[in-house]
Symmetry: C2
Subunit: 165 residues, 2 copies
């Protein structure tokens, strides 16, 4: 239950909070930034209410599969501020079977957004794990680089939305 | 994901819905009916909001321990109508370590109450499991008898609350 079970990414994104939220919660937009390139998101299903589905399938170059896109479960949605989902549960809160690769251990993601002033967003993503072993596996999969690169892609996409607004 | 992964208890309780809800959600009252006698609840912690703790420790005759009371997580609370919690997550949605005995597999409990007319309550408790194997283990632990006996104890306690109201 300690902090040592968590992985944390914090960034100040140079884009307004409502656009970062939109890029996070619109499946078509999420698809464009949620995988660190050259990985790609091949499938997204999200029903943003407690008990709803949260399912993302990622594929690597040459079709390398990082898992089969096990369906996870949305837990909390605070519009423009907070999104929580978990892979420990399937939709409608049923305990989930674990999968392969990146899906071999359960995790809960807690994403929070706050105004950073000057049209910026304080972006925080925390991955909660069962124990330190799972945390370490996730870290060795490249959490910091992967989520860091995705945060840059997210920022760029949200900036593009601002330009087109 | 099929019905075959679930265990379902349905009863019409001869007590009003608000008292059944109170017996379910007041830790002091829950303690009196939630274990099929001669089992007893030795410890209860509940914080009835999403992300809050739901922890119950049960002991049998001669101090036989059915588990260590792993802390679970509340998922949904609709006052007087619905309570959902899971042992797949610890409080604040962290994926849970599994425990021993009755706590060796994850489950989600969905409890719903509806008015049954004439001061009665339609009571439904569903246990959701990962797969059929877990469901069968839970069934063999005595789900039907155990939860059935508890429902009788719940009814009796709620009736006592009515008499004292």
């Amino acid at each position: 239950m300690t902090k040592s079970n968590d992985l944390v990414l914090e960034r100040t994104l140079n884009a307004p909070r409502e656009l970062v939220w939109r890029a996070w919660t619109d499946p078509k937009l999420l698809k464009q930034w949620f995988a660190p390139k050259p990985y790609e998101i091949s499938e997204v299903e999200m029903d943003l209410r407690p008990g709803g589905i949260f399912r993302i399938r990622m594929v690597g170059p040459d079709g390398f599969d990082t898992g089969h896109g096990n369906p996870g479960c949305v837990l909390e949605v605070v519009d423009g501020e907070k999104l929580v989902w978990t892979s420990a549960l399937a939709p409608q809160y049923r305990p989930a079977e674990m999968g392969e690769g990146c899906e071999s251990f359960p995790m809960t993601a807690v994403v929070t957004l706050a105004d950073g002033g000057d049209g910026k967003t304080l972006y925080r993503a925390v991955a909660l794990h069962r124990n330190e072993a799972d945390r370490n596996v996730h870290e060795q999969m490249g959490f910091d680089d992967g989520w860091g690169k995705c945060a840059e892609q997210l920022e760029e996409l949200a900036q593009g939305l601002a330009a087109n607004a």
